[in-house]
Symmetry: C2
Subunit: 290 residues, 2 copies
């Protein structure tokens, strides 16, 4: 696996592949890789000749009170894992390589970023769209891979790709979970033992709503209340939102017509966790169609 | 000359060229073409295998009180002129092709857009950067050509290209002028006979400062005052700004150290006109270096 730390190095390495007509898949990450990330790498390897992974803890997408400085960095382990996982190139830029002095250009998706996580994480999505756009420009992949766990992010980025006519297919891959249902996340390692014991309650709450949906329930209030009731049984969890929204607009629906996205966010102790499920559809509904 | 009206048509046409390894030059315009535009096409033809021109009157870069609805549209004449000028492809998208329903992604350069024209034309540069970024993504040129007349625009776009790591060389070409010195502009056709008679006073004012500069004057106040004095002789002209700024930051300088950009804007009757000159340098200083 080749490792590049500058834009120029990466461009030279990928130019060779492009010159041979090889297709490029891209998996942007913030490192601290788990099986969820690896599932994106595997999917990219199946669909492309070469797979590029980036690890960049993007300061722009963390709020001033968020965990940028303590976000886990596990570069050695990540490199080992990606080597085994068959990535062809790892892009590991320093912050100044992405944001040199005088940097002042931002990309913003204005509507889809307002509800849900946008309500509490000001500037977060602007940071995400800006860095992903820049990474897309650097790597120039045919396809890029994102996890369903960050469903709003996937929908925002899909909109960005369409609005800016980027010639990239954005593929969303299903959430990977621990055996007890907890969605894999780099932030899970912040959890204390007690918090970790309560953590499966989040996916259990979504599962409860899914069962009701499969039995025929379509009312948003009933479905959301089922989630909230289940979350209410977790003494250490403070919910931030439980919403049932349209997949296109991310605005609340009153009833599930064909499909809808059910999402939750909140704090387990001090750790912010999110999870979601597509009722009546799958993760595929969050990406672009080839 | 091929004419494309949709993104898909244009992608298919350019894919063939790219497949043969041909280089692409791109000249984005708002139509109503004059010799200034044609000089960009000529330069592009010299430096690239194929030249793409776009004509798109971009609603996003006009303020609510500006001249979007009356901006001159001369499509037939433009096509004839470009055909003769040797352009290979004309991209003529409709507004809905660039901004389909639900469009909500914007690109913004935050600092360089604040002074000068940014003070009075709110949202103008956001409109410019958004549409140019999208057009760049659609055309994927190696080189793009802009006129020095819109000097702030050229500097803002150069910053965007660098900040977002777009793999495009942005070339700035010199202002073309009428024999009496008036900078060519599609908006010159708004001028009444009386206004047109006073219009050369703008470039004469800049020329006055240039003479002082060439004689050794370096003080911003003296140079600006010379311009203002000359503009003061035009009864129909209402100045908006006369500024001497740093080429990198667009912030005012007190003295010209090596080079600086001298710009003016104002209304001749109801028509807004701009002009500028690089003291101690040339138009080349406004673009990216290959």
């Amino acid at each position: 696996m080749k490792v590049c730390r500058t834009v120029q190095e990466l461009r030279e390495a990928t130019r060779v592949w492009r010159g041979k007509g090889e297709s490029l898949g891209f998996v942007p990450t913030m490192g601290c890789l788990h099986r969820g990330h690896l599932s994106l790498v595997e999917r990219s390897r199946r669909e492309n000749d070469k797979t590029v992974v980036s690890i960049f803890v993007n300061p722009l997408q963390f709020g001033p009170k968020e965990d940028f400085s303590v976000y886990p960095r596990t570069e050695e382990e990540d490199r080992r894992v990606l080597e085994q996982g068959g990535a062809d190139l790892l892009f590991l830029p320093r912050v100044e390589e992405i944001y040199p002095p005088g940097f002042q250009t931002y990309c913003e998706v204005t509507q889809l970023t307002k509800p849900l996580c946008g309500l509490t994480r000001e500037g977060h999505f602007r940071g995400v769209t800006t860095v992903v756009l820049k990474l897309f420009n650097i790597v120039s992949p045919q396809r890029a891979y994102f996890g369903q766990k960050d469903a709003q992010q996937a929908i925002v980025l899909t909109r960005m790709v369409e609005d800016l006519a980027l010639n990239i297919n954005l593929r969303v891959c299903p959430i990977l979970r621990e055996q007890d249902g907890l969605a894999l996340s780099s932030r899970n390692r912040y959890l204390s033992r007690e918090e970790r014991e309560q953590a499966p309650g989040l996916s259990r709450a979504l599962g409860r709503a899914e069962s009701l949906f499969l039995e025929g329930e379509r009312g948003a209030r009933v479905l959301r209340d089922a989630v909230r009731e289940e979350l209410g049984r977790l003494p250490l969890f403070t919910p931030e939102y439980v919403e049932l929204v349209d997949l296109g607009t991310l605005l609340p629906v009153e009833r599930v017509e064909s499909k809808a996205l059910l999402l939750l966010a909140g704090r387990l102790g001090r750790t912010r966790l999110i999870d979601n499920i597509v009722l009546g559809g799958t993760y595929v509904d969050l990406g672009t169609q080839e």
